[in-house]
C-alpha cells in the first residue's frame, strides 16, 4: 500500500490533463514516489523523515502543473487556455449561437431543395427541429471531449443520453406523425378520390420515414462515437484507480 496515497489524490484533483496522459502521469508519479522513499529508507533515514523528504520533493507547484498541462494539451486547448475565463465563456456561447444558426439555415435549405422533404410535408419540420437540437448537443459534447479536452469524470456522461434519446425520438416521430396526419384528415371533406388521398399519404409517409430514420440514425451514430470516446476515457481513469491505492482513514494530510 503506498504511503503517499493522500498526496497522490491531491495531485490527481489538481491535475487538469486529458486522458490518457492524466493516468500515465499519475502512475509515473506514484511509482517514483515509492522508489524515492525506498531510496531514502535504504540510506538509513527514519520512515517519517523519508516520507517528509519525498513529499517535499514531489510538491508540484502551480507553475509545474501548468507546464505539464501545456505539454499534454492539444493545440486547440492551448489556444483556449490563453483566453481569460470570461472571454472563453463568451467565445463558447458565440460559437453555440453561430452553430445553431448554421444548423437552422442548413435545415431550411435542405427543406426547400430536397424532394424528399417536399414529399414528407410540414410534419418533417418537427423531425428537423429535433435534428438541430441533437446536432447542437452532439457538437457541444464533441467540443468538450476533443477540443477543450475536459475529461473530468463527473462531466463525462453529461449530455450524452439526450443525444441518443432524441435520436430515437426522431425515428419514433417518423412512425407516429403519419398516423397523426391520418387522424387529422379523417372526416375532413375533400375533392380528391380516396385512392389519390391514400397515395398522397403513402408517398408522404415514405418520405417522412426516410427523413426521420436517416436523421435518427445519424444522431445515433454521433452518440455511438461520443460514447466510445467516453468509455476510453473512463477506462484510462479506472486504470489509475486500480493502481493507485486509496488513502486509509488514519493517514494524515501531507500539508
Amino acid at each position: 500500500m503506498s504511503r503517499f496515497a493522500t498526496t497522490l489524490q491531491t495531485i490527481a484533483d489538481r491535475l487538469d490533463l486529458p486522458q490518457p496522459a492524466r493516468s500515465r502521469v499519475l502512475l509515473e508519479l506514484a511509482a517514483d514516489m515509492d522508489d524515492l522513499d525506498r531510496h531514502f529508507l535504504g540510506q538509513g533515514l527514519a520512515e517519517d523523515e523519508a516520507r517528509l523528504r519525498v513529499l517535499e520533493q514531489f510538491d508540484l507547484s502551480d507553475a509545474a502543473m501548468s507546464e505539464l498541462a501545456a505539454v499534454h494539451h492539444g493545440p486547440a486547448r492551448r489556444l483556449l487556455d490563453r483566453l481569460p475565463a470570461r472571454n472563453l465563456r463568451l467565445w463558447e456561447r458565440t460559437l453555440l449561437v453561430v452553430m445553431a444558426l448554421a444548423a437552422v439555415h442548413t435545415g431550411g435549405w435542405f427543406t426547400r431543395s430536397s424532394q424528399v422533404m417536399h414529399d414528407a410535408g410540414a410534419q418533417a419540420w418537427a423531425v428537423l427541429a429535433v435534428a438541430v437540437i441533437v446536432l447542437i448537443l452532439a457538437a457541444g459534447k464533441a467540443y468538450q471531449l476533443f477540443i477543450r479536452q475536459d475529461h473530468r469524470v463527473r462531466r463525462l456522461r453529461t449530455g450524452l443520453a439526450p443525444v441518443l434519446g432524441l435520436s430515437v425520438g426522431m425515428m419514433a416521430l417518423g412512425f407516429v406523425l403519419p398516423w397523426v396526419q391520418v387522424l387529422l384528415r379523417l372526416g375532413r371533406p375533400t375533392d380528391l378520390h380516396p385512392v389519390a388521398v391514400m397515395m398522397d399519404w403513402v408517398i408522404s409517409t415514405t418520405a417522412m420515414l426516410q427523413v426521420s430514420l436517416g436523421l435518427g440514425l445519424l444522431g445515433a451514430l454521433a452518440w455511438f462515437g461520443l460514447a466510445q470516446a467516453v468509455l476510453r476515457i473512463e477506462r484510462h481513469e479506472s486504470e489509475v484507480l486500480l493502481h493507485l491505492p486509496h488513502p486509509r482513514p488514519e493517514e494524515t494530510p501531507c500539508h
Partner: protein, 115 residues
C-alpha cells in the same frame, strides 16, 4: 528549442535540458533517479525538485529527444524509465558544444579567465 540557442531567456531551460540529457547518456533512468544522479554528479550544486522535473521530461519526450518506456516490475507495478533517442544524442552533442562556447564567452566577457 534549438540546441544552438543559449540566451538569457533560454538559459534555465537549456541548462535543465543539458543536465538531464547528460544524465541519460549514462543509460536508462527512472524520473526520480535522474534528479539524484544530477545532484550526485554536480556534488550537490544542482538540486532538482522532482516535481519540476516531470514537465521537462515530458517535453523532451514529446520532442522526441528521449523515450519513456513502461515496464512491469513484479508486485511493485508499472515503472517508467527514460532513454536517450538517437535524435536526443545528436541534440545533446550540439548542445554541449553550445555550452562550451557560452562558458568561454562568458568567462571572457566577465573577466573570469585565469591570467
Amino acid at each position: 528549442m534549438s540546441p544552438h540557442t543559449i540566451t538569457t531567456q533560454t538559459l534555465t531551460r537549456s541548462c535543465n535540458e543539458a543536465l538531464i540529457l547528460a544524465a541519460l547518456s549514462a543509460g536508462p533512468r527512472h524520473g526520480y533517479q535522474l534528479a539524484l544522479d544530477i545532484e550526485a554528479r554536480s556534488r550537490g550544486y544542482f538540486v532538482f525538485k522532482h516535481g519540476t522535473l516531470y514537465p521537462i521530461l515530458h517535453k523532451l519526450e514529446k520532442d522526441g529527444l528521449i523515450e519513456g518506456v513502461w515496464s512491469e516490475e513484479g508486485p511493485r507495478g508499472k515503472r517508467k524509465a527514460y532513454t536517450l533517442t538517437d535524435k536526443g544524442r545528436d541534440y545533446a552533442a550540439v548542445q554541449r558544444q553550445s555550452w562550451r562556447d557560452f562558458v568561454a564567452h562568458f568567462q571572457a566577457a566577465a573577466g573570469l579567465e585565469e591570467s
